[in-house]
């Protein structure tokens, strides 16, 4: 059953990055658009994301619940030492969610729209940055896990653990990844004339993602972040990265040709490969403190809990996944089944 639980944890993470990522990215794409394109993007986002965006964001709740139910000790470290970036991320999620709904459900479309738009765009950028910072902080080995917090200053314990160059680079990498996913998604959603806007955006985003990914790894290697050093010297991780680099070529050409199904497929597989590459070298340690890695499988919840959680997740999955698939399909967010 442990594997069922771990599978759902990884699966929720993947879907959160893909679906919520594309959703955050929509705001980022809008932020970096000319005024004319912003209006087009806003309309397209609403049409594509409107029906599904709330469902996209529930994956993070599923992840959090799995973490605290099955891996309480692990969760405990995250919520204590990364309190601040998580709170800032929540602030972003809140502002973004309400701005999205406000701008479409306000009965009058007047000057207040300008405020909603800015709220939406800025929080769309900052939320994934803080999410990325949180993940970067988890693996950077700067968290001081202590039973006597009184011996340390506030700054050392609760700020230096996450506010450093590596985590910030990870944050921007993730934001760029979101923008990339969204731009690729929007290629297939725009009307014929607008398509080239997103082809261009997706091309730029691809370059930015690869660039940020490269800088992040390079910086991590130079500043001797253990996770990155092990990552670079791990055969599986490097093979995965190599595959993803090779797959950039068909991704690139499918973007240039504006192929909606193929470009999405390749974009999604990039995310899958990046996640596999990031998580495998050290599994089951996904958290690094100054004392080294902490295994997610240490101090897990008792078997009785894992069993019930696994069964709940399976039942939940059987109810939710077909519904979600049907929703995505009905509103044409996935087009795998259609021929073009």
């Amino acid at each position: 059953m442990m594997y069922v639980v771990l599978f759902f944890l990884a699966f929720s993470l993947l879907l959160y990055v893909l679906l919520a990522g594309a959703d955050f990215g929509a705001g980022i794409v809008e932020l970096f658009s000319s005024k004319k394109n912003q209006a087009i993007t806003k309309k397209t986002i609403y049409r594509v994301m409107g029906p599904v965006w709330e469902a996209n964001h529930i994956w993070i709740i599923i992840m959090i619940v799995i973490l605290w139910v099955a891996f309480p000790a692990y969760y405990n470290i995250i919520v204590i030492y990364l309190h601040i970036p998580l709170t800032l991320m929540l602030l972003g999620i809140t502002l973004r969610g309400v701005a999205f709904v406000f701008r479409h459900y306000d009965a009058y479309k007047d000057k207040s729209q300008i405020l909603y738009d800015w709220m939406f765009k800025i929080s769309s950028l900052l939320t994934p940055v803080f999410l990325g910072i949180t993940f970067g902080a988890l693996i950077s080995g700067k968290i001081i896990h202590t039973t006597t917090p009184i011996d340390y200053s506030f700054k050392i314990l609760y700020i230096d653990s996450w506010l450093h160059t590596f985590s910030i680079l990870t944050g921007f990498f993730f934001a760029a990844l979101c923008a990339f996913l969204s731009a690729v998604l929007l290629i297939g959603e725009a009307s014929y004339g607008d398509k080239k806007i997103y082809v261009k955006k997706a091309t730029i985003a691809t370059i930015v993602v690869v660039l940020f990914g490269f800088i992040t790894i390079l910086y991590g290697y130079i500043s001797k972040i253990q996770f990155v050093i092990d990552f670079v010297s791990n055969l599986y991780a490097m093979t995965t990265i190599l595959i993803s680099a090779i797959l950039l070529i068909p991704l690139w050409s499918s973007i240039r040709k504006g192929r909606r199904v193929l470009s999405r497929l390749f974009a999604g597989s990039q995310v899958l490969l990046i996640l596999i590459a990031a998580l495998t070298p050290h599994y089951p340690s996904i958290l690094f403190t100054t004392d080294g890695g902490i295994s997610i499988l240490d101090n897990v919840a008792p078997d009785s809990v894992i069993k019930v959680l696994g069964i709940s997740l399976l039942i939940g999955g059987f109810v939710i996944l077909p519904g979600l698939f049907h929703l995505l399909k009905s509103f044409k967010m996935i087009k795998i089944l259609e021929r073009h």
């Binding site: 409107g50 709330e54 529930i58 204590i80 709170t87 009965a107 009058y108 008792p302 809990v305």
Partner: protein
């Protein structure tokens, strides 16, 4: 401010906010599908306009409820890490099921909001029903987790460790049913009266009366039925608390000395130092009867328990008075509504009738919040009744007070924004139908 106080204030503040939005998001879909059904049956355009404007309300409230709920799911750990470390696995079941129910709700809402003229009519209507049912299911599951904090079960507590965990027993803890029933009825009462009150005000102002009267009737019917049923559930809850949490009951009633044939105090000012309650109305033997169904039963007083296990008596007592008082008021208002129905609706033309229900609009929510204050403050100093104290599990991260301020500012702005949006919705609704008719 101490970290513990700041964390408790933040938790209370975010919950007070979330509860309102969650309740509206949970109950309003039912109003919406009734209006929708009436439209399908009658094809009267007023019902379609009403359904569509209520659905916008549902969408706005659902999102504010969802984002504040997401924040809360993190806050549980961010503020009370030690609590979640131990309790998380035990009460994971209601939370994981709640996650699933919430997911179903979001999917169904996606279909409903965007499905007009796109999916078959009947299926579309049913997705609205699913929104309502899964919303109520989420609510019940979350309350069940709260019930576990009042009636911890499904584990053995040996030497400070939680052993032999049985998550299913924890889900169906002894308090889950009474609490979930009480809360569900409260949600319907509060939302019913609030929505009805808003429409009543529009009728007072003589704006688009035909539509608002129909809206009022749908909302108030739900609210009135729930308000009339609520005392039965309240009685079950009281008897349950008398048995399991006698300190809480004693605090609710400001009952200091153990006595047989205990009187029930209505109102009164509590002096915790001198243990006196002044300016009260005392009903002889009523407390013994209400708590145990026996006029001469012994009711334990606060002094039978160590002082450091007392909650803040004054707050709990006042909140309880507010809840019961307003609940009773709404019960009478509900009965009054049904009487007017049988009186050939002559009172329906009286401005006073609509003014009355306008004034009642916020009362349900005030009672509901007061009820949560009773159960949450009444459980203190425990976070898990008789097992774990709140002060022992607060986060070691200093400066929570700033996070509290941030939430106060954020949620205050959100409250203002949502209220403003709602008023714009109503304004546009009134203008729209004026043009159409």
């Amino acid at each position: 401010m101490e970290n513990l106080d700041a964390a408790r204030l933040q938790m209370a503040f975010t919950l007070i906010f979330h509860i309102v939005f969650a309740c509206v998001g949970m109950v309003m879909p039912f109003f919406m599908v009734v209006a929708h059904k009436k439209w399908l049956n009658t094809r009267n355009d007023i019902y379609l306009t009403l359904t569509k404007s209520w659905q916008k309300g549902v969408a706005i409230f659902f999102v504010t409820g969802a984002v504040s709920g997401t924040a809360l799911s993190f806050e549980l750990g961010l503020l009370w890490p030690e609590f979640m470390k131990h309790a998380g696995p035990i009460i994971g079941m209601p939370f994981s099921l709640e996650g699933a129910a919430f997911f179903v709700e979001a999917i169904a809402l996606g279909f409903y909001l965007y499905g007009w003229n796109k999916i078959p009519e009947k299926f579309h209507w049913w997705t609205g029903v699913i929104v309502g049912i899964s919303g109520v299911a989420s609510g019940i599951l979350v309350v069940s987790a709260n019930g576990w904090m009042n009636a911890p079960s499904g584990f053995d507590y040996i030497n400070g460790e939680f052993l032999n965990i049985d998550p299913i027993k924890a889900l169906f803890n002894p308090a889950w049913f009474t609490q979930a029933l009480h809360m569900t009825l409260a949600a319907f009462t509060a939302t019913g009266f609030a929505v009805a009150g808003i429409h009543a005000y529009q009728i007072v102002k003589k704006r688009n009366v035909a539509l608002h009267k129909k809206a009022f009737k749908i909302a108030i019917t739900f609210g009135a039925i729930a308000a009339i049923l609520q005392p039965i559930s309240g009685d079950l809850s009281a008897k349950d608390i008398a048995e399991r949490q006698p300190v809480k009951l004693a605090a609710m009633e400001a009952h200091f000395e153990t006595s047989k044939g205990a009187p029930l105090y209505i109102g009164g000012i509590v002096n915790q130092e001198t243990q006196e309650v002044t300016h009260k109305i005392a009903i002889p033997k009523a407390l013994s009867f209400l708590a145990f169904g026996n006029l001469d039963a012994e009711v334990k007083g606060l002094n039978d328990f160590p002082k450091d296990e007392h909650p803040n008596v004054a707050i709990v007592h006042y909140a309880f008075q507010v809840m019961v008082g307003l609940g009773t008021l709404l019960l009478f208002a509900g009965v009054f509504f049904f009487i007017t129905l049988s009186r050939k609706r002559t009172w329906f033309h009286s401005k006073k009738f609509w003014l009355l229900f306008t004034v009642l609009a916020p009362m349900g929510f005030i009672a509901l919040e007061a009820g949560w204050i009773v159960t949450e403050v009444g459980r203190q100093p425990w976070i898990i009744h008789n097992i774990m104290k709140t002060k022992d599990v607060v986060t070691p991260v200093p400066g929570i007070v700033y996070s509290f301020y941030m939430y106060v500012i954020l949620y205050s702005i959100l409250t203002i924004a949502v209220t403003w949006l709602m008023s714009r919705q109503i304004k546009s609704l009134n203008n729209k139908t004026l043009v159409e008719t």
